[in-house]
Amino acid sequence: MRRRTRPLRLRIVFAVAVPIAIVAAWQIVATARPSLYWPSPLMIVQSFGRTWLDGMIVQDVLPSLGRFVVGYLIAVVVGVVLGLLIGSFRRLRYAAEPVIDIFRAVPPPVIVPVVMLFVGIGDDMKIIVIAIGSVWPVLLNTVEGVRGIDEVQRSTADSYRVSPWRRYVRIALPAATPQILVGARQSLSIALIMMVISEMFAATNGIGFNIVQFQRLFALPEMWGGIVILGVIGVVANVLFTFAERRVAAWHFGMQESR
């Protein structure tokens, strides 16, 4: 059965219908039976003006986002570089895989006190925690991607004594790109989680930090506001990633064609 594509207006209605219904229902229930833990959406929005939008954007949201982006980019770069190396040498891959599996399975909050011992309590610690936590999907998927490279390509490169630079950047990297992108998307969600976790300990600012502080002070509407902000960031990050993915895919296909 062929799907008729719906007109844009209808698509928008469909997209917002359920969320609006949920918010409306929540508002009605919360007004009828006020609960400390489930403040009404109106209260949450009002608290936004008092707190999150009153200087906190600059003080907390921007630093959080900054650390998130930097940590994520470090994870991607390190993951791709290491992945290219490890994936290209069979024996190195065999040796590295169990070690990677072990490190990857360390529970994220545990990384924080350990990194704190080495780097202290500043932004460095948070960025490193984010990077260490989120590098694994990119790393593993890069290794997988390099593994799958066409044998013909590889032996051709061998017999023509292609330089390492060409071998990795011109051949391996583009070929592995689709798989790398899969890993990079997984790493994105993990980086967001690590950002929150890194701010729950020894922090002085940040979204995660404030969510915890609001909870301690029993400031529920403000706390919910933080959760909403995190949801928005997650959605936006994923949308931006999809855009970036399409650009990279275009470049990738360009590289493949030009050979």
């Binding site: 400390l36 006190p113 704190m116 011992l117 202290g120 309590i121 500043g122 300990f201 020894a202 922090a203 002085t204 502080q213 909870q215 301690r216 002070l217 029993f218 400031a219 529920l220």
Partner: protein
Amino acid sequence: MRHTAKALTAAAALVLALTGCAGGPAASETPATPGALRAVNIGAVPTVDIAVLYLGEKQGFFEDQGLELDIEFGAGGAALIPALINGQYDIIYSNIISALQGVERGLPLVVTAPAGVASGDVEADTAAIIVPDDSAIQSPKDLEGKTVAVNTLSNLHEIMVREVVIKDGGDPDAVQFVELGLPDMGAALDSGQIDAMSTSEPWVGTWMQAGDDRIIALNPSEADVDFIHSVYLTTQEKAQADPGLIEAWRAALEESFAYAMDHVDEVKAEMANFSDVDPGILQQMAMSRYTVDFSRDDVLRVAEMTQRAHVLQDPEKATDLLIDGAAG
């Protein structure tokens, strides 16, 4: 394929049944047999103040009142309070700041008795502001512009430090507070990441043992000689529904406190049972003052300090809410 599906469905049904058994919070109930001891669920933190309870129980003070204590350790005031409201505990040990903040937000908390009060002696008390020996910081006023580590922001230690800075003529808002776990403070101080720490026993003893640190203030006595730092809380509902329990609890506490004040070594010995602290440190440890008596004024003063720290709006209202219904 078919039998796999059936097996999976059966397993799923079994698991759903198990979920039902995972159950909700356990509420305490009066025992069926009269004359049997009434179990009291207590949520607490492994500090020396709880050793007083254990000691009192050993001496039979709680049994005399028909009570049997069931003490469980949790992560701290802000975490135990929701558990109390959930019905998981009958009474919890909490720092007074979280209690004040909670009632201001509408949580139905009520003080049954103080759990620990300032020793009254500025030379010997349970909390201290510690700096490295070679630090330029000589008195609380010097903390302006410096970084001080506390184990929970906007809470007891931050408020005590702010008070002593004010008393020393400084501006508490100029002090940078950062939150660190208790065991992490020593390394941070040594490496210069923080300029000072405010911590409680037995950590004070632990860090001072290394020998290269110095104390610049002893709390809470220096902040307020009659500072009630911790309280035993229950819900308004429970206090109204079961005043007999609260009466019995306070009576047993009174005896336990009196005994503890006279037998400090036994309290410390009791603490060794649930804590891994080095006995040498335990021995040197200063102690709080224990009393069931408290006045509205005592609580109000703490509330006002909390307001000065910008983390409480209405001290009068919070104080009234907190002690309303208390048998004190």
